[in-house]
Symmetry: D3
Subunit: 133 residues, 6 copies
């Protein structure tokens, strides 16, 4: 169903297989999901994407669950069905409760509607919301 074949371990180039192993180690599971198998045609793009994602999603000033919720919110607004499914699963794996999921959905819905209203009204940005040079 993809625009490229999803590469099995056998079919993937060696450098991509090495990234599959890094994914397995980091996640402590044998399962490598379809996104990485589709990216595996281009080992350099696969590697840079995986490594950057690992850095960005690591604990920092924001905790990993909050980062997942933000990721899921962006994926929803961008209409990426694959990403919505994979990051809903990831958020659950990081502890998202059904109550948190419900509130996340409510915030996404609220933002979506006020985004549309502000755009339809062409509301100019208040001076106090702008930073000086």
């Amino acid at each position: 169903m993809a625009t490229v074949a999803l590469l099995s371990d056998e079919a993937a180039p060696a450098e991509s297989r090495a990234v599959f192993e890094a994914i397995r180690t980091a996640r402590q599971t044998d399962y490598v999901n379809n996104f990485w198998r589709a990216l595996a045609h281009d080992p350099a793009l696969l590697r840079v994407t995986w490594e950057r994602a690992s850095e960005v999603m690591a604990p920092g000033a924001l905790d990993p669950l909050v980062k997942e919720l933000v990721y899921l919110a962006v994926s929803t607004a961008n209409g990426c069905a694959y990403c919505v499914h994979s990051h809903t699963a990831a958020a659950r794996a990081k502890g998202m409760t059904p109550e948190q999921h419900g509130e996340l959905l409510a915030v996404i819905a609220m933002a979506s509607q006020t985004n549309a209203l502000a755009t339809a009204l062409g509301v100019p940005v208040d001076e106090r919301f702008q930073e000086g040079p």
Copy 2:
């Protein structure tokens, strides 16, 4: 600059002025920002939007700052300049630090690029990311 005039307190219908007062009380400030002044032409739409936003953004299973970060992420993905400015200000008012802002931007950027990659590759959703009926 808007598609409708921004209504001053004097120009707004009485029912809209009442919502302005509710906004002032809830936020403990005299300032009513442009979004509400543009919506004030339609008092019913103004009221339902303000009241729903208040409910959705109240503390719950997710804390108010997390909700603001999600709101800001959605507004960015939807390309709403007004909302990006107003919710960056709101997030700061709720305690967002520069480090948190930087990490938020990094997550939004990461999600945006993998959303595009998953879409361009047409990656089918893994069975394990799908819930049964």
Copy 3:
């Protein structure tokens, strides 16, 4: 295939079942479509969404078919496959003819292309299209 299970009447919480009944009564059909069954995990979100939709889509200054056409146009621009399907069905149920459907598609296509052109050209808004403060 969803990110949550679609809840049958039996599996849904009682408060969500009550909304299912309201949907059945309003629409005079036994069928409750998947959107509401997915939302049913969060009875409060289900209720507020159903009730607000009912108000917004009721006859007013715009007739219900016009509202459906607008809903379908927004759903298309937002790339929501589910919504495109359900609101095409709803528009037909409210009397949309094949000729009207064809013209709707032509307007959506026209708007989509001039939206892209205006954005690519960075066209500044004419003064006469802006409302004073």
Copy 4:
């Protein structure tokens, strides 16, 4: 502010000036708005865009005001500030009342939020909303 200069009548190529005249005649006004002045660098693209827009927006199975409302809704969802301003003005010129504008905004806001919810929930399309081959 644009990515290309807005061409005055004097600066525009002759073939583009001819389209400006067609616009003036059709609209019975001397004013040619910025969108057409930006497109005028490419007379062929200017002509095909103007002529197709004229056909699409002409009265048919849908009346011209309904077409404008749809155009405005799509422009909002696509986040085109220029188009939102110009088509709000056009809708008013075709008779849109403040009440209709308010209802239009409410429908756009409703669609935007249920689009986001359906996407976030990954709701599968009901069989009854799908047409056979």
Copy 5:
């Protein structure tokens, strides 16, 4: 699965069948893909879309493969799964190599993330990037 039936040659109106023949002749294949079969309910819209696409995608100042890459990039950013699949196939038919596909994906991903960053930061356009009137 569509919102309209996909019309076979037999079911399509005569004027739409004539466009099918034009497609077959231009592409030197008997196969008419689903997009055109869905559009065939409205022969006028089918014809204008096919004819305009043929003009736009013909060799000119940009070569046909570059045009396909741009088409694919836009389709990805707009989240159109159908278009992503059909234009990936078209790009391959016009000679896109796996290396070019990989680089295209990398550029799309890069643009997507800096688009999000520029929007989230509300960066004002530098004077030197703006054309005078």
Copy 6:
């Protein structure tokens, strides 16, 4: 006008100033545009964004001008005004002619409208456009 101050060389952290110097050297100009000055609050994000962009946009299987055209097309579809302006300037600096600009706009407009049509019609992907596992 931004959501953060644009940092001058003096105000930027030392690590960000070092990236400014890298930008100046690579581009052989003293000018550092606003995007990088806004990102400079977070030196790590600034550096990774600049370095990745440099890699991605370097000559490869696609030439740099083609990459710019793709970047500009994605930025248009994503509605990023800043990016549209900066990458139109960059494309011109890499040799884009007015004829190429016109054709690029025509392809973007064409893709935008068929994207909308395919989505509105819910066209299922043809089997021949799908890659096996």
